[in-house]
């Protein structure tokens, strides 16, 4: 079977255009994307003493729901925040490691916009500590949140 190159390019671009810009994993609902987009504000609200439950209720009021239109719960919100932060940390680590590779730096060809190479990702500082070394390993909190998220998924898996 032969491929139609023009059709392939057209279809691939169409699919690409419908994918989320963040490119992190598979998103089955809009909650993860909403959390990622609103993460700085969510953290700012938490730092000012607003409870997770209040933030979840406010997000639900804007249509960010879980499952079949059910209001977003505080525990679900914190699980997703932990997951998104862990993803961002991993991305930052990978980007740092990629930049540090001498072999890639020497071989890297000049890029054009058509090659669609991933844009450099700025390192995301940890939420609570400014020490740069802490980005190298997952924090206790991130590990616990990932475990809690895995548990929620297990309990809801049919």
């Amino acid at each position: 079977m032969t491929l139609d190159p023009k059709r392939l390019a057209r279809d691939a671009k169409r699919v690409q255009a419908t994918r989320p810009a963040g490119g992190i994993g598979r998103e089955t609902t809009g909650v993860t994307r909403a959390v990622r987009d609103g993460l700085p504000m969510i953290r700012q609200l938490r730092d000012s003493g607003i409870t997770w439950a209040a933030i979840a209720a406010a997000m639900s009021a804007q249509g960010v729901t879980q499952g079949a239109g059910r209001p977003l719960t505080a525990s679900r919100l914190t699980a997703i925040v932990g997951q998104v932060e862990a993803q961002l940390r991993r991305q930052a680590e990978q980007a740092t490691a990629r930049r540090a590779r001498a072999d890639l730096a020497a071989l890297q060809p000049p890029r054009t916009s058509d090659t669609a190479a991933p844009a450099p990702i700025a390192p995301i500082p940890p939420a609570s500590s400014p020490a740069p070394d802490t980005t190298a390993h997952a924090s206790e909190e991130a590990i616990r949140r990932a475990g809690l998220d895995a548990l929620h998924k297990l309990l809801k898996k049919a």
């Binding site: 409870t51 997770w52 439950a53 979840a56 505080a74 525990s75 914190t78 932990g82 609570s128 924090s139 206790e140 909190e141 616990r144 949140r145 475990g147 809690l148 895995a150 548990l151 929620h152 297990l154 309990l155 809801k156 898996k157 049919a158």
Partner: protein
Amino acid sequence: MPRILLVAQDKGGSGKTVLVRALAECLPTARLIEIEAGRRLVELDDRLSFFPVRAERGEIDRTGGQAARAEFDGVLNAMAAAEGPVIVDVGANTAGSLLPLIREAGGRYGRRGITFALLVVVTSEPGALANAPTLLDLAAPFAAARFAVENQVEGPVDPAALKALGKGVTLTRLERLSLDARANELLQKGGLRFIGEDLAGAEDNLITQFGFAEAGRIVEDLTRFRAKAMAATAPAAAWLEG
């Protein structure tokens, strides 16, 4: 009248956080304060205020000890702002420093109508066994009630040592339970909250995942463990409720 229950044991690994979780189950409306190096009670985020300890060594050096003196300011302020029952998870190696500060401020807290109690976890581990009476003594001048939970996770505690805790201390026991390995894994990931809120409704999912027999053990073991932990903290929860 806000009541604050301090849950303490300066030796790590004594099961203190399990008992904090059990208290949170007994009193679903209580707020929680966690004083730890890192957040542990992530499943209770909607009820929790977290205060990291301890002050950075570099900061202490730079400020000539001021940072060390101020490191509990956030905790002391949060307790002063209490409006209802509050459970405080005092992290390992922290109670010995925090309790004297509360004692010093005891009169000022009293004028705000705030009363304190202390719950200490006792295990047969020598460090935990030695620390328990020290903390109970530290709290005696300001605590309206004092509780001790004998956690038999490392075996039964010497009865003489328990008796030496004093007559004014309400003592309860958390027996060692053998949990199904998978149940223990879920417990480590989710604490006690999901057992009360989600487990019964998820039994069919667990059966699909692990089979009928193991799912049954998981549900039974976790439910039993939660009930035992809540029973061990019941007197303290009753005090907290007022």
